[in-house]
Symmetry: C2
Subunit: 456 residues, 2 copies
Amino acid sequence: MRQPQSLTDCSLALHTDEYALTMAQSFWRHGQTGVACFEMTVRSLPPSRGYLVAAGLEQALAYLLSLRYGARDLEFLSQRGIYSAEFLSVLEGLRFTGDVDAIPEGTPIGAEVPLLRVTAPRIEATVVESSLLALMNHQTMIASKASRIVAAAEGREVWDFSLRRLQGPEAALGVARAAYIAGCAGTATVAAGARLGLPTTGTMAHHFVLAFGEDHEQDAFEQFLRDYPGRAVLLVDTYDTLRGVDRAIAASRATRVSLAGVRLDSGDIAVLARLTREKLDAAGFTSARITASGDLDEYSIDSLLAAGAPLDAFGVGTMLGTSADAPTMGGIYKLVAQARGAEMVPTMKVSSAKQTDPGLHQVFHTESHDVIALAEETLPGEPLMQPVVRGGAVCAELPSLAEIRERCRVRVAALPVEVRRIHEPQPWPVVRSARLEELRDRLLREGGHRTGVKVA
Amino acid sequence: MRQPQSLTDCSLALHTDEYALTMAQSFWRHGQTGVACFEMTVRSLPPSRGYLVAAGLEQALAYLLSLRYGARDLEFLSQRGIYSAEFLSVLEGLRFTGDVDAIPEGTPIGAEVPLLRVTAPRIEATVVESSLLALMNHQTMIASKASRIVAAAEGREVWDFSLRRLQGPEAALGVARAAYIAGCAGTATVAAGARLGLPTTGTMAHHFVLAFGEDHEQDAFEQFLRDYPGRAVLLVDTYDTLRGVDRAIAASRATRVSLAGVRLDSGDIAVLARLTREKLDAAGFTSARITASGDLDEYSIDSLLAAGAPLDAFGVGTMLGTSADAPTMGGIYKLVAQARGAEMVPTMKVSSAKQTDPGLHQVFHTESHDVIALAEETLPGEPLMQPVVRGGAVCAELPSLAEIRERCRVRVAALPVEVRRIHEPQPWPVVRSARLEELRDRLLREGGHRTGVKVA
């Protein structure tokens, strides 16, 4: 069984909100260590999103299964003065021993659906909340944005160029992975190639051309062509873009090295792309590709292609890597049930506007909508939540990145066009089963208190 | 001399865009290894920002000075099939040997100002671009946002609660550090306490209360008060907020443990805060504090305080940690000069709308504006760019986080009120010196080519 892969070699044990540890200590001290069940859901779709693409599960599992409090972590906690030596030794021995059920990565989903469920001794389920959410929120946010950009590119390659604009360099691996799941061709981030085997790419920067000084743009191009025969993509807008194209053609002829392509990074890309294509074709460089970059997103790519810009590939940085129009994913991790003796009792938070669905859930996918149901229900459609971890060990074959990407491609393509469209998409419909509605209503009437209803 | 502190134990050597390595190899192969000079600048202020707060320099320096290509990195690069064994051995031995000048962290700045300059052998200066930018862009973005939130809170504590909504868990350390620089009281992220010594805090989650089942909210409060005497902040909105306040009071009385405070996380916070304060005061709990949380930002905090909400502290998550209204910082890293023999020749990119300032720069700060000048100029005002690394070693005492935070406090307070205000702030004015304008104009006329003007 393949083990889930982390994107970091560093410990994330203390990457938690402090309350998780103080609550865990209180639970432990008072013997409140029975099984609790938490589900992660995204309450509402961000603006301009008809669906989300579930992503990040493999890293969430890697985090859970590798969680260890090391000597330095415990030393720091000890100095905080609020944790007892006994509790710290509990943390020292803590391993995730619980179960995880989840919707497979690459699945398009709507709001309020459980992406993931953790069923574990309460202390374990408590301490993992913050990093689990950060890992899932991040990749789901990026995959959801990237899916739109890939759709706008209509089959042309989209490459992740975002590293320099992220929340620190470490975020680049999650971005590259999620973007690839959603259909991007790959990334410029070398570490994502090294760690995840993703395709990587690179063109050249303006400073490469400037390094050659006055009137030596063609020298720069010739050197790069000779150094990277068959793969050099020349950046032509350092001085004058169309003169740059002429020089790229001349450099290819002078070196007898074929020109893989050129990159346009500024100016009126639609006009420049057309004129560049004409120049390349007139020179017989019909296989040379044109890549566009520079603050692109799904809207500008859509406009460029609608204007007939003959572009072959897009390098998308900021807008992809930060999901700039919807830069947060509001995934929450809520207690849905807890053990009372031998039974699991559903629970919910009833406070205004932040109500949660009580009980353990299954999601049934149909062609027109998804249904959130109680876990023990059997309804028409395909059940999306699958067991992935049992007793702290992976219990199902983890899909490869290629399989996740293909799943995403097929399932996004099957969504109604109004859900998939770039402009003002309709939200993918999600409804609740009659039994779930009934349980919700009853608990709301009773103030969110225990019902004794056995739900699993 | 204190060495700069990294926020990660993991290598960032491959956290680079691929073109940096392919360009570096080309430079190396052709002996283009002379000194090059790059400056990082932010081209324009994001919407709703009157100024930026420079942050991230210490981690940028730690990255530069610890950069090493390890065996695994080189093995991966070797498998790429585009790097020669000779170049990989160059990378293996590569150490940053150059100079860094920078504006000190915590300094409020305007657009187009150089935050940082790297002067180094061209290969070194080339390979560090992506991660250097990611580190600086991230913390500068967060400090700039946090500064506004802190201003809105008018002296009340602002705490970073953002971990779960970030671009992966690792981003939390940079957020916490930058937020603290900008005046936040601390963070909920435990790792930021462990690594940076930042104050950490935590209250409780709804699931702590739910763990006690029906009608046992007061039991939950009593247990938490007993477990954390003097520091327990009770979350009162799991069921009914005002009933929760009554129960918090009752729990404090029953346990004879003083109530540090309560947290309001939903509902009409302005109204609830007033009613909560009345209840607390009526019960004699005048020192119990009220913390608000739940999708807060500078605008909602400003509104709450304008409405007279008696709040003592704010837990700010998503909007702080992602700078959600301006979630990207467009810092760029541009070649400004390069060695030709014994002289440094200024250079600039002239392509439309993305022109850069040629030459090495100093920034002179005055009470009413900043002036970007050539490095050899002496103008009225305080020069902001300072030498921090010479020959690959730290050459100036690095300020402590407390000193950086104090610098930020004093200098932000000295900005004109129209630059500091929350709503529609005026941009902090930045102008160019006459000599810089002259050089820019000349290079633009000459198409960005070398001039032979000696600038340093």
